[in-house]
Each structure stands twice: as structure tokens, then as C-alpha cells.
């Protein structure tokens, strides 16, 4: 696999990870707030809230998020994945403002801009710098060397 293939694959999975996370969290937050009662009082409250359709849909998206992120971590650095997927915080702030009616102050918007700059900076670095694990890949490298 060439490095441009790796980068494309990484971009696609980063997009899936970010979108599934943002929409999953927003749906969950919306559902939990609609449900009303504060959690933490009893286990039954957790079970009840999970049957709220918004929370259930949110959970499904978070499962997609988890699987896509696991795949991404099979080839990309953790120190790459974390800052790059943090663009999701920006989208979360926007979603909170637009759909949940939360107040987003000027300070929060400045934070948003910093996160975007950091994401862009890390996004320009190599996707993988470690050489541990990645059994199949190393085997392929050895093959090429022969």
C-alpha cells in the first residue's frame, strides 16, 4: 500500500469516526434531556433511558464510531488519531448551538478555532510513525526487501 492510499483510507475513516461520534453524542444528549429524570439514582433509570428512541439511535452510531476507530488505530498512530478526530468538538459545539439550543459563548468559539488549527497541523503529519505490531505490514515490508 502506497502512502497516498494510506492517507486516503485514513481520511475516509477519520470522517466516519467524526460524524458517527458527533451525531451519536448529539442524539444521546437530546434523548437523555427529553427523558427528564437525572441518572445515577438507580440502574433501572439507565435501562429505561436506553429504550428512548433518540438514545438508542445514538448508541447505534456510537457502535459504528467505536468499530471505525478501532480499524483506524490498526494502522494509524494514537497521537495522530486523537488530535485529528478532535475536529468533532467543533461540530459538537455547532450541533449544541443549532439543535439543542445551548449557548455557545465567544470564548467557546475561540476554542473552536484553536482546535481547528491544531487538527489541520497534525493532519499534515505522517499517519504512522511506529513500527511495533502491524504484523502483516511488517511481513510485507520484509517481502519487498527480499
Amino acid at each position: 500500500m502506497t502512502s497516498s492510499d494510506l492517507r486516503l483510507k485514513t481520511r475516509i475513516f477519520t470522517a466516519i469516526v467524526v460524524l458517527a461520534n458527533v451525531f451519536g453524542n448529539s442524539l444521546m444528549s437530546f434523548g437523555v434531556k427529553r427523558h427528564g429524570a437525572a441518572l445515577g439514582s438507580s440502574a433501572i433509570e439507565y435501562l429505561k433511558v436506553m429504550f428512548n428512541p433518540y438514545v438508542a439511535a445514538g448508541i447505534c452510531l456510537l457502535i459504528v464510531w467505536m468499530l471505525a476507530r478501532m480499524a483506524l488505530l490498526s494502522w494509524a498512530d494514537l497521537s495522530y488519531v486523537l488530535p485529528v478526530t478532535s475536529i468533532g468538538y467543533v461540530l459538537t459545539a455547532v450541533m449544541g448551538r443549532v439543535f439543542l439550543g445551548e449557548q455557545v459563548s465567544a470564548r467557546r468559539w475561540i476554542g473552536t478555532v484553536l482546535i481547528m488549527a491544531g487538527t489541520a497541523l497534525v493532519g499534515s503529519t505522517a499517519v504512522r510513525t511506529h513500527d511495533s505490531g502491524a504484523g502483516e505490514d511488517r511481513a510485507r515490508l520484509v517481502e519487498t526487501a527480499r
Binding site: 480499524a71 494514537l78 478532535s86 478555532v113 484553536l114 482546535i115 491544531g118 505490531g133
Partner: protein, 120 residues
């Protein structure tokens, strides 16, 4: 109470991500996306103890996060729990042996500042 929950979420998330990364690396790069190959990868991962522990920690983090969401705004909860990834960049460098060069450090620092601003 809010900050106790944040502490639990952060600790569980850091451990979860470190274990998940080690587990996925030991499994090897996912490069075949046909359903049958993904099924086989899933079956292999279900027997991978790093991944199993990571998923358990993710569940802890998830339910604690759900509790936090019922007490606080989403735009407080998400950024506050993001403190985990500052710690995780150090974990990536010193435990996962990734080369964290200046561009990645400064990018991570910018994101951390942004997250702090969002949380305040």
C-alpha cells in the same frame, strides 16, 4: 460531582485507548473490507484480551459519560472529558513508542488549549 465524573471518564478513556491501540497493532492493519474478511477480523478481535479489556473500560467511560450528560450541558461534558487526550499524547510517545515531532506536539497543544477554552 461533575468533576468526579469527569475524572472517572478521563481515567477510563486513557486506559481504554492505550489498550485498544496495542490490541489493534498486534492484530495488524485492517486492509480487506469485504464483509467476510471483516467478520473474520471481528472474530479474532473478540478473542484479543487487549481489545476485550479496552471495550470493558469503554463501557465504564460510556455510562459515566451518560450520567454526566444528565447533569451538565453537552458543550461542557464533551470538552471537559477531552482532558484525556493531553495525557494520551504522552502515553503515545512514551508507552506506544510513536514519534511525536514538533508539528504534532504543537497541534496537540493547540487542540488542548481550544478544549480548555471550551470547558471554562
Amino acid at each position: 460531582m461533575k468533576w468526579v465524573l469527569v475524572g472517572v471518564v478521563v481515567t477510563a478513556t486513557v486506559l481504554c485507548d492505550a489498550l485498544q491501540t496495542v490490541g489493534m497493532r498486534r492484530h495488524g492493519e485492517i486492509h480487506d473490507f469485504r464483509p467476510s474478511a471483516l467478520g473474520r477480523a471481528g472474530a479474532a478481535l473478540a478473542r484479543n484480551w487487549y481489545v476485550i479489556l479496552a471495550v470493558a473500560l469503554m463501557a465504564v467511560s460510556f455510562f459515566t459519560f451518560l450520567t454526566l450528560l444528565s447533569l451538565a450541558d453537552l458543550s461542557f461534558a464533551v470538552p471537559a472529558t477531552a482532558a484525556s487526550f493531553v495525557i494520551e499524547t504522552f502515553v503515545a510517545k512514551y508507552f506506544l513508542k510513536e514519534r511525536v515531532a514538533w508539528r504534532r506536539w504543537s497541534g496537540a497543544a493547540l487542540v488542548a488549549c481550544g478544549v480548555a477554552l471550551l470547558a471554562l
